[in-house]
Symmetry: C2
Subunit: 735 residues, 2 copies
């Protein structure tokens, strides 16, 4: 397939908001590879070039891993520092966050690690005393001011410089990976602005997860780095392989889970994921994870803030609360998706969409106002999750570990608990305070934290139940008095998995991410039970994940690979022209003039035309793309001598006999795709959809008994699918 | 596509040694699903049936997991017991193996766990005394007798009852999963015999890995269990999804690595692996792993015999020896594959193949004769690997931990080492003995153990180097005197991964399996470095993995999905009929009689015929399978009144006008595939190969300008690929 007429620039490229032709791109790459291999036998330089070409993919992966890891580390450090900046400042150095400030101090006791004289809250700094009645109000005010400033900066930056930097980015990345072209979506401006605004938004305390933006950041890195490698710069299919790997990198740095990241990319994001990409993604994800670890943003030599180790095995009966958490997660996921989509639709359709800055400012003010009084909403969501996942040790000073001893004599005191051991973990007043604060915090926090809170609450309830009723039959064989038998931290983790699963409908990748967080095979079963229940419950309420729902809301031309097309329609029902429409616009392989073709181009908007033997005998010869045709005709008019409007256009192999006085013919066989995909009119649409998905087609011609009858494009299929699902087929944005 | 004429039995099934049509099977399943969904709206019973149908896949997975896990546990226990039976017997009870026998005994000290009076070696039992000059010889003799007996039994059982039970099984399973039918390969006899012979062969001390046979066993379980579910019994494509999951289960129980198992199935074995299967495989693999763990065959609550925990981090410079191990693994893998294939070819082509029993007996005798004197070859290979991976603790009594203290005063004594701490781990004489024994053992042991031995040897060398030269610049910042800095166990693990990688060319799945064994993200980088180097080195010496080499040796019709077809041939070069051959055998949609069609069937061996409008105008109408045609004609002759040899055969939609005296027509449109796949003559073969792989086609018709010119079958493609690679195209077994 010699589509690559390199002499005419522009042929073989795509316009913005168009879908790529995977088959053509892959052929181009194979041609390129063949050429390099052939040349490599001729000279040593060419051989070296061939070797460097083979390894360029690995080098690219290394660079993506290093760059994304470094950026993620920077984002974590900056967000940590700015979150603390809302509360106060370190006198030893402005660049220390609260924790580092007090680490550096010698005057801190182990019990009160977060109190040290060097760290001043804004009120202390402004009023000058360290205790007093107005301090709380001043701190509250400063907290809101900072949050507002961060959020305002973020939204202004996005609007001014990079509108594509808004949102999670995963729906768009899925669409791009499926073959759509959105220029600038993964460009350098998007990268810079996304990185800065991610820090600002996280610091302002807005409820958002970091994984989506980090995937977007990693994909931007990949796209920018691709420009340095010809192999990837000039081939849209190869570049998408790299982007698939980059999305694995994004998840790898977000959760510190390289294997989970690769599975996430495979399961959730990617469209075309050959085994070679699997291996390279894994490499890149690992490099990124280790880069992040050597930056050590959390100061604990771990990849993530919430690394946990549990010590108590779980009991089979605990599967019941785990499944309950799964049901909660599924319900919550379905509710969240509906609420989110309803809000976005409202913003799209009403005047609310005209004031995004105002919207963000109001939401931030409201969040900050509600978040400050409660300890658990004031901290960053990753700190919160970390605290919730934590298994209470002997020296934990958190309120969540505010257990009292069994005798009740030393109630509430943390020291007394530690002294008595954790034998009987009856809840003390501190824990009760923590519990209702958590219950309040449930209301305005991202999915993972909601699940973690719900899980922790259930876990503590279960624990108290088991301790107070340890003589009951049900607990007897399982909870001996004086020993831990229920780990509330595990419940928090299961709850987090359930909610994340309900929203994203991830399955294996979710369980593997959580497995990499805990590092124990033991806890896979609870996680799996919750993730499965959550997915089933959420699927029963609505098939789409949050990403798919957003893809549909925005009308992106995305052909979902997961759901099977189950209707009994045939190709003839979907192809155009429909009954009653004008005939299909075709070119004939000979007999048309430049003028006729130009008129056809001007009159229609189709992105390609089938070429047939003649209008009377519509037997298919090939397919020509509009863009290639336009460029070639312009080129012929400009560069080929004697071409006039009456010049014949020839797609044939041999020239037909012509009179010597006739104007010279424009020969266009080189831009003709001689192997267009065809199906018969009787082909069931389920098979057509399958072919489109698996081969990544843009269009397919429909034939009956050797005669060309119509054409099916990806847009036709998407419209048909929307129609079959009783949705508006015109909502699909597509060129 | 109404291919399913359920009224005529046999239509839509396949013969042995045929390839299935994935597109047709998937359509059948979608039809089935549609029917159930439609019915479920009508009655409650149908609704319940529809729900149970939806969950039957999960139930099947649960059963496969339970059954495979139980079988794997049984195999482990039996093999352990029988391996020990070669050396002696337990007086407390014949069913105890050596370890359990001495656990039950109270007279054992911790240092000499494996010596207790209840355990009698054969010589002690027969001669009656516990020490003496002849004992060694008697034990040696008995060891060889038992080994011989086990091996003889194994080979006799395989030959008598289930010839398919021989070999690793993975090449055949790959072929079956790609759509080939080998009846009985996954049947109950194969399962029973494979299970028994696996135990016998492992116990006899033959050099073989367990992972291949366990994958085969799991697939047999899956295939047998499929028979209880209509959905899977009657659909070859659906059954293959289940088998893909089963191969994940096999690896999961072989290594105790459920995630690694799923990735192995995805990367190495499966052909069609939709995301749904990913999730189900993971579930089944997890169930199997937990079943195995609750059987607890190794008595250590772990999933595998060689669970390890390392305590010392690795240094960046250690990547050099790790890469060296990778190179060794790659070389060894390439060598092993060549030697193995050469041996198999020898057996196939010479009279050696006629005496398999003799071959096995001789090999066993030789192995047993050489293995007994060396401690490391006498133990089972999993015990050996476990010992090699082990990090020497304070109380280890193994010779491999025979370090001496730095002063040299208490050289060689294990107790002295323990007392002095492991500060300076200078090698003692015990360790030296172990080292040369290991070096000898290198010669006759399966891949993983070879790698582990090589790794351990290199690790100990590095360790001694570091200890003796700790003042050198290179070691100064890394190995402070008195502290461990090199873990020989880690080297063993890296070496094992490298060799396994060189032989099987696994990548991600290998690293993940090893990661699941160690449980630490820390050690992924060394493993990855070794696995990558090993794959590159081995690929440079020969592209094929051991599985692919065996597939090619046996001529299975397997279309490799990993390697791209890189030649510039077109469909016209591959299609049949070739230039000069007789014309393509076609049927016409009307105008042929029963007799003519029957003659065509008798004269040709093609498995299907295109149907065209007429011989003069070969425009394609559809495609009909030979088997369906034969069955339908027989059925018509038997059941339809008045059908004679002169009856016309009609594939048309409407009946053409006929004279009333003419015999009744046989209408066969229902068996006609109206949507055969077509490509044009100009389609590059790389695209044709891609279509065959991705859609799972059996054949494809070749068209030029609407006229049918030829046909390409999977066999033609495989032959063409063999030809392009300068191999004999006639080596492909295919119907």
């Amino acid at each position: 397939m010699d589509l690559l007429d390199d002499t005419v620039p522009g042929i073989g490229t795509y316009e913005d908001f168009n879908t790529i032709d995977w088959v053509r791109e892959k052929s181009k790459d194979r041609d390129r590879h063949r050429e390099i291999t052939n040349k490599s036998k001729q000279s040593t330089v060419a051989l070296l070039f061939s070797i460097s070409d083979a390894f360029s993919g690995w080098l690219l992966m290394l660079l993506i891993g290093l760059m994304s890891g470094a950026l993620a580390g920077g984002i974590d450090i900056a967000a940590h520092w700015m979150t603390d900046l809302k509360e106060g400042v370190c006198l030893n150095g402005l660049w220390f966050n609260h924790e580092h400030c007090c680490w550096a101090s010698n005057e801190t006791t182990f019990q009160e690690r977060d109190k040290c004289p060097q760290w001043k809250s804004w009120a202390e700094l402004m009023v000058g005393v360290s205790e007093g009645p107005g301090l709380y109000v001043v701190n509250y005010f400063m907290y809101m001011c900072w949050a507002l400033l961060f959020a305002f900066l973020a939204v202004i930056l996005v609007r001014a410089f990079a509108p594509y930097a808004c949102g999670s980015g995963i729906p768009e990345i899925k669409t791009v990976l499926s073959g759509f072209i959105i220029r600038g979506y993964l460009g350098k401006w998007t990268l810079i602005i996304k990185t800065i605004t991610l820090v600002l938004a996280v610091s302002s305390g807005l409820s958002l997860g970091k994984e989506g933006p980090l995937v977007h950041v990693a994909c931007c890195c990949a796209n920018i780095l691709c420009h340095f490698f010809t192999k990837y710069r000039r081939n849209e299919a190869k570049r998408r392989e790299v982007l698939s790997a980059a999305s694995a990198v994004g998840v790898s740095v977000a959760f510190g889970a390289p294997i989970g990241g690769v599975l996430f990319s495979l399961e959730e994001v990617s469209y075309y994921f050959p085994l070679k990409t699997l291996w390279r993604s894994f490499f890149a994800a690992l490099v990124a994870a280790f880069t992040l670890r050597s930056i050590n943003p959390f100061g604990n030599s771990r990849l993530v803030l919430f690394y946990v180790e549990f010590h108590t095995p779980w009991h089979l009966l605990e599967l019941i609360p785990f499944v309950l958490l799964g049901i909660f997660g599924g319900l919550w996921g379905a509710f969240f998706i509906r609420a989110n989509i309803a809000w976005c639709r409202l913003r799209k359709n009403t005047c609310l969409g005209h004031y995004p800055v105002l919207e963000v400012v109001v939401v931030t003010l409201l969040t900050a106002f509600l978040a400050f009084p409660i300890e658990y909403t004031r901290m960053s969501s990753s700190e919160l999750i970390s605290e919730l996942f934590n298994d209470c040790g002997l020296l934990d000073s958190s309120k969540l570990c505010g257990y009292t001893s069994n005798s009740g004599s030393a109630s509430g005191s943390v020291n007394a608990t530690a002294a008595n051991g954790l034998g009987a973990r009856l809840a003390g007043p501190d824990l009760y305070t923590a519990m209702w604060q958590l219950a309040l915090a449930l209301l305005f926090i991202p999915s993972m934290a909601v699940g973690a809170i719900a899980g922790r609450l259930l876990g503590v309830c279960m624990e108290q139940l088991a301790i107070r009723h340890h003589e009951r039959d049900i607990f007897r064989g399982w909870c001996s008095p004086g020993a831990d038998c229920i780990t509330p931290g595990l419940y928090a983790m299961v709850g987090a998995a359930a909610c994340l699963g309900g929203v994203t409908r991830m399955t294996v990748s979710l369980v593997v991410i959580m497995f990499e967080l805990t590092g124990g095979l033991e806890y896979i079963v609870p996680l799996m039970a919750a993730a499965m229940t959550s997915k089933w419950v959420a699927d029963a309420l609505g098939r789409e994940s949050i990403y798919e729902a957003h893809i549909r809301l925005n009308g992106y031309p995305f052909l979902e690979a997961k759901e099977e097309f189950r209707h009994k329609t045939l190709a003839t029902d979907v192809m155009r022209p429909r009954r009653g429409d004008p005939l299909l616009s075709v070119l004939t392989e000979s007999g048309m003039t430049v003028e006729e073709v130009e008129r056809l181009i001007a009159d229609t908007t189709y992105s390609g035309f089938p070429v047939v033997i003649s209008q009377q005998s519509p037997r298919l010869v090939g397919f020509v793309l509009r863009r290639d045709l336009v460029i070639s005709l312009e080129n012929a008019r400009r560069n080929q001598e004697g071409v006039v409007s009456m010049s014949p256009i020839l797609f044939t192999e041999c020239d037909p006999p012509m009179s010597p006085s006739a104007p010279p013919a424009v020969k266009l066989r080189s831009i003709l795709d001689l192997s267009p995909f065809t199906v018969t009119v009787h082909t069931p649409m389920e098979i057509v959809v399958d072919i489109f998905r698996k081969l990544g087609l843009r269009q397919c011609l429909v034939i009956q008994n050797g005669r060309l009858l119509g054409i099916i494009t990806k847009k036709d299929i998407l419209k048909h699918m929307a129609q079959m699902a009783n949705r508006d087929p015109d909502s699909i944005l597509f060129n």
